[in-house]
């Protein structure tokens, strides 16, 4: 039993296991902490900062901070949510995100998070930067206008024989995702779908299948993002 200890999130006492991140403890207890760069099965990298929480008064990322006994965590507070909203807004202005015409609309984590955080319009000026589209691969299209540089694709997608399909160059806000063109020629439809699914936004798309899911059946049409975690609490 000494491996277990108590922490609180927004005043609610929870039991944590030794070695678990704050994000894991929260999720297991039906408390939603938003994430974008974190993805199940991938080592967390804390680059998007959307999972920021206050731990004993200090701002920390929930995906990389290990829970320890007696931690007092603030999560769903006006201050933290405002911070998260700012982060999401900066992502919108850094890229060219036009939800009305994006085929990932309704399935997009960035859009869903913006709705959840009640973002109306970004308070920052748009960069309107000229980004390229790489449509030269037979099954996948990369639209750099929408990439939020989470690197989930580079960290998570490998070909059937274990090779990296995606890579990135540069650092910080100049990160540019690229796809191995030779490997991309021979990927299966299943792998292409995996690549599209791991992308939280509409930057990686399977070609010639846009808008195939009718409105009403998309991931966030009927349930806000995080609802799947919060449902655990209701059970």
């Amino acid at each position: 039993m000494k491996d277990k200890f108590k922490i609180t999130i927004d005043g609610v006492e929870l039991t944590a296991n030794q070695g678990e991140t704050i994000l894991k403890v929260a999720s297991d207890n039906g408390i939603y902490i938003p994430v974008l760069c974190a993805y199940e099965g991938l080592k967390p990298q804390a680059s998007c900062r959307v999972c920021s929480v206050k731990v004993n008064g200090r701002t920390m990322t929930a995906c990389t901070t290990t829970a320890s006994p007696g931690m007092k965590i603030e999560n769903d507070t006006p201050e933290i949510n405002e911070l998260r909203k700012i982060i999401v807004e900066t992502m919108f202005v850094a890229g060219n995100h036009f939800c009305p015409t994006c085929e990932k609309s309704g399935d997009c984590e960035l859009q869903a998070l913006a709705y959840r955080l009640k973002m109306d319009v970004p308070r920052f000026p748009y960069s309107f930067s000229n980004k390229e589209i790489d449509a030269s691969n037979p099954k996948l299209m990369i639209d750099h206008n929408r990439c939020i540089k989470c690197k989930r694709c580079a960290r998570g997608i490998k070909t059937e024989d274990g090779k990296d399909l995606f890579a990135f160059k540069n650092r910080g806000d100049r990160i540019l995702i690229s796809i191995d063109k030779e490997l991309a020629k021979n990927i299966s439809d299943k792998k292409a779908q995996e690549a599209m699914d791991i992308c939280p936004v509409g930057a990686i798309l399977r070609k010639e299948r846009g808008f195939i899911n009718p409105i009403g059946t998309r991931k966030y049409d009927n349930n806000p993002i995080g609802n799947n975690i919060e449902k655990l609490k209701e059970i």
Binding site: T101, G210, I215
Partner: protein, 484 residues
């Protein structure tokens, strides 16, 4: 140079335009122009985007009839994915799209006739502008206003169950449609609680026609002669000559009714139609190549469709079509105000077609999408509420759009609207000492008959954004009227 009158913006039309009228020193007509002063740029910024995005992106041209652009782009993309040139889709694919389109034409026509145009008929062209609007209709003709709102709602609900949402849906995809009609959706519209059912829509459509015909009887001179002028007419017709709003061959007739474009394949439109650019308007001037820019202009829309079609394939609308045709002894009808009559016949046709389709089992099951050999160029034509709509795209080997050419319905009516303005100006303003609000509204009524969609809806309630300035020959302001 004499006097110049500017009407800016033109009200109770969709979008932003202005009219300039030049008069000589005795206030006699010299020339008039309808300027379309919006610039949108869709043809440019769609370049580089993947082709399957076009039906969803390009429909954002408009909030009134986005379905028309959605479907015209989808039809062009059908050609690109090898799904035929309009009649190659699965029965489910084609019929769901048709239902979407009839719902769209129905609601758009209803919006135009009842909300935008009827105030001119019910309160008079020179009626008090304070009540000559949709609020005036709601106050003084409550039944009509309620019908108009509910009919529009019905059309929007049809769009929702086929496209996914009422405005800017995603239903039509290259090669077909992305959903079936559910039993619940079908029953809610076929047999919904009064008045939301197909039979009520047919009943009210007939009522709208009766209203117009009675008004016509009492106001023959206005309806028959206001802004009337002979012209060529163009539309799609079904291969057998029937009215078909979704698909067909291109037919044009001259002012006497002789076929001058004889049922041309829509993929070949560019061989027959060209566009001229004029420095004073962002809207181009299309014309039939063989007659040149000066004489090749033509009219499109409900009136033109009644002129080019030989029959309507739904029984009640066919009966009304026969009355309409008999009025001009089978000859082409050139009265601008008869656009309203034709529009009401099409409302009835759409109501009948929606009922038939809602009863069709193909909408509830069957293959949604079909594809064949890919090609790199596609043309999609459609009869939008306001007339023939042309979408033309080319793509590269990586599936990116490299060229888009859109000739929207209102563009086709550019020259006719300019002529209607000229006709109304000559009739109401030329030679008058004092320019009244009613006279200027007459100019707007002539434009309104064409239901131009200059991009998005606007309507005049409260402070009307209409400014008219009258200048003398030395460009000094001598009279100014503002509707407020």
């Amino acid at each position: 140079m004499g006097k110049k009158i500017t009407i800016e913006p033109v009200t109770r039309v969709e979008g932003h335009g202005k009219v300039t009228i030049h008069l000589d020193n005795d206030n006699n007509f010299e020339r008039s122009r309808l300027h379309i002063v919006e610039f949108r740029g869709f043809e440019k910024f769609i370049q580089g985007r993947p082709y399957w995005e076009a039906p969803v992106t390009v429909q954002r041209l408009c909030g009134i009839c986005p379905v028309s652009h959605h479907l015209a782009a989808a039809k062009a993309m059908d050609v690109i994915v090898g799904a035929g040139t309009g009649d190659g889709l699965t029965p489910t694919g084609e019929k769901m799209r048709r239902l979407m389109h009839y719902g769209q034409v129905f609601q758009s026509h209803v919006l135009h006739f009842f909300h935008l145009a009827s105030p001119d008929l019910l309160f008079g062209i020179d009626g008090d502008p304070a009540i000559r609007n949709v609020i005036g209709i709601a106050k003084m003709h409550k039944d009509l206003a309620v019908q108009a709102v509910m009919m529009r709602k019905y059309g929007q609900e049809i769009i929702k169950v086929t496209a996914g949402k009422k405005i800017h849906g995603t239903g039509a995809i290259p090669g077909g449609i992305n959903k079936h009609l559910s039993l619940k959706e079908k029953m809610s519209l076929l047999d919904g609680k009064d008045p939301m059912n197909a039979d009520k829509m047919i009943e009210w459509s007939l009522g709208g026609l009766e209203f117009f015909k009675n008004f016509h009887k009492a106001n023959k001179d206005l309806i028959d002669n206001f802004a009337a002028f002979p012209s060529k007419h163009l539309s799609l017709v079904r291969k057998d000559g029937a009215l078909d709003l979704y698909h067909g061959v291109i037919r044009a007739i001259d002012a006497d009714g002789k076929k001058i474009l004889n049922d041309v394949d829509s993929q070949d439109y560019l061989e027959h139609i060209a566009e001229e650019v004029k420095s004073w308007s962002y809207m181009k001037f299309p014309y039939l190549r063989k007659y040149g820019p000066k004489d090749g202009w033509y009219r499109v829309g409900p009136l033109s469709r009644m002129n080019t079609a030989e029959f309507i394939p739904s029984p009640l609308a066919q009966k009304e079509f026969e009355i309409f045709k008999a009025y001009t002894n089978g000859k082409p009808n050139h009265s601008s105000m008869h656009y309203h009559w034709a529009r009401l016949i099409e409302i009835l046709h759409c109501a009948e077609m929606m009922k038939d389709l809602l009863n069709d089992p193909d909408l509830m099951e069957g293959e949604l999408v079909t594809k064949g050999t890919k090609s790199y160029e596609g043309v999609g034509l459609l009869e939008a509420p306001r007339g023939t709509l042309f979408h033309h795209y080319r793509i590269n080997k990586d599936d990116q759009i490299t060229m888009a050419n859109l000739i929207v319905s209102t563009t086709n009516n550019n020259m006719p609207m300019n002529l209607a303005v000229e006709s109304a100006t000559k009739q109401f303003i030329s030679g008058q000492d004092k320019i009244t609000e009613g006279m200027l509204n007459a100019v707007e009524v002539s434009i309104r008959a064409y239901d131009p969609c200059l991009s998005c809806a606007t309507h005049a309630i409260g402070k009307l954004p209409l400014q008219v300035k009258l200048y003398d020959s030395k460009n000094n302001l001598i009279d100014k009227r503002t509707k407020d």
